[in-house]
């Protein structure tokens, strides 16, 4: 049944009221289908692929595993907030430059994960990079260019940028 309470979410710095969200609706569904924030992706909706990765109160989570109701009043940052309109963060730029994007379905989730990772680890080894992104599946690239993008971005990453 539709839920009569109207929860609100703080998404990318904006307070948004959710009309008629369904009990049990995932935060991913709400972000995508109610708020039109389609950047977070839905490759598995069971917490296995990382394509829906977002920041919830500074913690990296799979939006598909979060109930919208439980995110009420909390701070949510999605791919849409990674860089101001019209600009690119260093990680986004590195993805583009190294050829880390093919179909691009995994890209938003990976970018959120990598931003979170580089905020903590400024000089990662290749294995650390691979481990950090091992919760994000990519079927197209074989990860080589993605690892390369993270390596390049780690050299210039600035923590103050975008979702944190």
């Amino acid at each position: 049944m539709p839920n009569d309470e109207q929860p609100h979410l703080n998404v990318n710095g904006k307070r948004l009221t959710i009309q008629k969200s369904w009990f049990g609706e995932s935060l991913l569904f709400t972000l995508r289908e109610r708020l039109g924030l389609y950047g977070s992706k839905n490759a598995c909706e069971q917490g296995e692929c990382g394509s829906c990765s977002i920041m919830l109160d500074e913690t990296l989570v799979c939006a598909c595993l979060v109930l919208t109701g439980s995110a009420t009043g909390r701070d949510i940052k999605t791919i849409e907030s990674l860089a101001p309109e019209g600009s690119l963060s260093t990680i986004q730029q590195a993805f583009i430059d190294t050829g880390a994007i093919q179909c691009g379905f995994c890209t938003p989730g990976l970018l959120i994960t990598i931003k979170d990772f580089l905020d903590e680890n400024t000089d990662p080894t290749e294995l650390e990079i691979r481990e950090a992104i091992s919760g994000n599946l990519c079927r197209c690239t074989g990860y080589g260019r993605i690892v390369e993008a993270v390596r390049i971005a780690s050299k210039t990453h600035d923590e103050s940028q975008g979702a944190s």
């Binding site: 389609y38 490759a43 791919i79 050829g99 093919q102 179909c103 690239t141 080589g144």
Partner: protein, 749 residues
């Protein structure tokens, strides 16, 4: 790790031009087929059979229809036209009417206000089945009672080449099996159908081949072509799994029935049920060799399990058989193949199409022959490697580039990786610390492959392109589907090459232009790339004619710059186009191919590409755990058009190959998939995937190919699998006859 220099260059052919969709994809703004929405939109869902073989006794949807928010429930009775579709020929019901032939077969459709309401409605539809015994063994299917009016044998193919009485000094036999792999593209099937008041419909869908979809949809809807219009929606990967129709007809039916836009997104479970998979295979070989290592005859039997419906089984079987002896000179061959129907899920196209299965078996045989003769495995391959001018077992002479020896030697010469990093993450078993370094065994494996490029056996393969100039502004239109491979980058590069500008508009791929054929079979660079090239060139020809009429000066085009005959004047094509308009549409075809005769002989293929892979693995034999340390490759590419995209195809393709080697299998039990989700269907993660080393990309231009470029998407997926398995055999000494290699195959041997 391979590092590509010069990321940023301009966009002519041969440089690492940037994808035009890279920024929207990096910012989350790119619209995939699952991101579509429309005012007043309904959500569609599909009821699928849980049983692999059954008769439908009754369907009661009264309870479901009474649920508030449910707008339509449709069954086979509601299919307006023929209740049949199929990629090669129609043999599969749009919705099951009587018999269920596989677990997952669609039975009914729902349209509702919210996906949860649709799901509730699906649960409230009551179907009574009479359960039947499923036919699940491909070998018995050849002689079993038919499960389909067309019979169980979709295709039986014999290749009879050379002298059958020849025998070798050495005879090596082996049987092999390949499990069912899935394309597992990240963006699941999704789309939206929008009805019009005149009874026509627009379908926005992720696919590989818009026109093939359209042809199948109009038959099922009984509508003329102009009333079913398809536009490509953003595709989240494909790898063969979107070549067949999935939700297409269903969406159109729901939209036309409700008069409202209808959106569908398969969840991951339904995606596994809703598209074809790679054919599981059983393969038997008997190789005959001379003492000095020449393969003199190969006998083989190949069975591909096509599942319940034909899809592309017939073409996959042709590939499996035609290339069943690998990239080697084999003067005598007797090969027999069957593509059969069973009550397993339908199988069809996946990257490497038919060649993957036999390559795994051939390369194992080659290693056995090498071992028995005491010849180095690389040396044995060099002794037998095909060359330009050689004949393959279908009697076809290789007239194009065949740098097989170069591919093999360049890879063999590549330095080996050092010992694994002293880090638990680098060990088999990872941070679980399941073993110590001293118990880990290293192995090295080598494999080589051949892949035919483009469609075969006489298929009229074409692609249409339009180059339109309006007041100097260039737009290019094709129906070529971008699945992530980077064709749209190539369009810009070709425009730069011919017109001197990459500042062009790409008109979205749709059915308002002629077919581009499928984005498969490593064919679009050659086919649609060729079409775009010719269309751009046609514009320049017209431009030069116009200038001659205007000024009386004859110009020639040199890479986007017009130079007058006397060499005194130059003008960039893009400048000369200003203020002018052109509309040049052309259809591009490759050289014709021909059917195979009753001995499996004929010039059935257009062109061939070769690759070699070398895998290095560390194995914990006690637990059967494998850590792939490195995969190195050399590949025959004709010419590299975009180095960065080429590397992306190679790394991505190899990763799918290693997935088949050690991780990926749809596990079947009595015709039912046991692991249709990402928890249990194991895809390679970044940690499972090793650094990929490119030893060499051999650029020997292919005659007849635009820019001399060969398709590069499939070869990486073919011989990477046998290379990994050979490396595990080398480490363990176990005769592994089946992929994927599971821990128990190693530990319990």
């Amino acid at each position: 790790m391979t590092t590509i220099e010069s990321y940023k260059t301009k966009s002519g052919v041969g440089v690492s031009a940037q994808r035009p969709d890279a920024v929207p994809k990096a910012t989350g703004k790119f619209s995939f087929s699952s991101d579509l929405s429309s005012h007043n939109m309904l959500w569609g869902q599909t009821l699928r059979s849980p049983l692999p073989s059954a008769r439908i006794k009754s369907i009661d949807f009264s309870e479901a229809l009474a649920i508030s928010g449910v707008h339509a429930i449709l069954t086979a009775n509601d299919v307006p036209g023929k209740n049949l579709f199929g990629l090669e020929h129609p043999d599969q019901p749009v919705l099951a009417d009587d018999l269920i032939r596989y677990a997952g077969e669609p039975i009914a459709l729902v349209a509702a206000e919210h996906p949860e309401i649709a799901a509730n409605a699906i649960n409230a539809i009551h179907v009574t089945f009479e359960e039947l015994t499923p036919l699940t063994d491909a070998e018995s299917a050849i002689t079993a009672d038919p499960i389909h009016p067309e019979g169980n044998v979709i295709r039986h193919l014999k290749i009879d080449h050379g002298d059958p009485s020849v025998t070798g000094d050495l005879v090596i036999e082996g049987t092999y099996e390949v499990g069912m792999q899935d394309q597992a593209f990240m963006g699941t099937e999704s789309g939206m159908a929008v009805p019009s008041p005149d009874g026509s419909v627009d379908l926005y869908i992720s696919t590989q081949w818009l026109h093939s979809d359209q042809n199948q949809i109009i038959e099922a809807l009984d509508l003329p072509e102009d009333m079913v219009r398809l536009t490509l929606a953003g595709v989240g990967g494909a790898f063969g799994g979107r070549e067949d129709v999935s939700m297409h007809v269903h969406l159109c039916m729901l939209a036309l029935h409700t008069g409202r836009p209808v959106k569908m997104i398969y969840d991951r479970n339904e995606s596994f049920l809703g598209h074809v998979h790679r054919h599981p295979a059983k393969i038997w070989y008997r190789h005959h060799a001379t003492e000095d290592g020449q393969i003199v005859k190969v006998e083989g039997k190949i069975i591909l399990d096509g599942g319940a419906y034909a899809s592309t089984t017939s073409a996959a079987l042709a590939n499996a058989c035609c290339f069943s002896t690998g990239p080697y000179r084999v003067p005598n061959a007797q090969i027999e193949g069957w593509g059969v129907r069973t009550n397993n899920p339908p199988c069809g196209a996946m990257r490497g199409f038919g060649n993957v299965q036999t390559c795994f078996a051939i390369e194992a045989q080659m290693d056995k022959v090498a071992k028995a003769l005491g010849i180095d495995p690389v040396e044995l391959r060099l002794i037998n490697a095909l060359e330009q001018g050689d004949t393959i077992i279908t009697g076809q002479k290789i007239t194009g580039a065949a740098p097989v020896k170069e591919v093999i030697s360049s890879l063999a010469d590549h330095p080996m990786p050092g010992p694994a990093e002293n880090n638990l993450l680098a060990r088999p078993g990872g941070t679980g610390r399941t073993t110590d370094q001293k118990h880990i065994k290293r192995g090295v494996g080598f494999a080589v492959s051949i892949k035919n490029l483009m469609f075969a056996e006489g298929f009229d393969d074409s692609s249409e392109a339009l180059c339109q100039v309006e007041d100097g502004n260039v737009a290019i239109h094709t129906a070529c589907v971008e699945v992530g491979q980077g064709f749209i980058t190539l369009i810009h590069q070709i425009a730069e090459e011919v017109l001197g500008t990459s500042d062009i508009t790409i008109i979205p791929a749709d059915t308002s232009i002629g077919s581009a054929g499928s984005t498969s079979a490593s064919r679009q660079t050659w086919m649609s790339g060729g079409a775009v090239l010719k269309a751009c060139e046609a514009v320049v020809v017209k431009l030069i004619e116009q200038i001659f009429e205007d000024e009386g000066v004859k110009y020639e085009n040199f890479n986007g710059t017009l130079v007058s005959e006397d060499g005194t004047k130059t003008i960039p094509v893009s400048e000369a186009l200003k203020g002018r308009s052109f509309h040049e549409k052309i259809v591009h075809r490759h050289a014709p191919t021909f059917p195979l005769n009753n001995k499996g002989q004929g010039d059935a293929h257009v062109s061939f590409a070769f690759a070699a892979h070398r895998a290095v693995v560390d194995v914990d034999q006690e637990l059967g755990l494998v850590r792939i340390i490195e995969i190195a490759t050399s590949q025959d590419v004709g010419r590299i058009l975009n180095p960065l995209q080429a590397v992306g195809q190679i790394e991505g393709g190899i990763t799918q190959g290693l997935g088949l080697a050690v991780l990926e299998e749809l596990v079947m039990k009595n015709g039912v998939i046991q692991n249709a989700n990402f928890t249990d269907y194991l895809l390679p993660t970044a940690l499972d995937t090793p650094p990929i080393e490119i030893a060499a990309l051999i650029e020997e231009p292919e005659p007849g190919a635009p820019f001399g470029a060969k398709g590069i998407g499939e070869p990486p997926t073919i011989s990477s699998t046998p290379a990994v398995v050979a490396a595990i055999r080398d480490a363990t000494g176990i005769d592994l006859r089946r992929v994927p290699v599971r821990p128990e195959d190693i530990a319990l041997e």
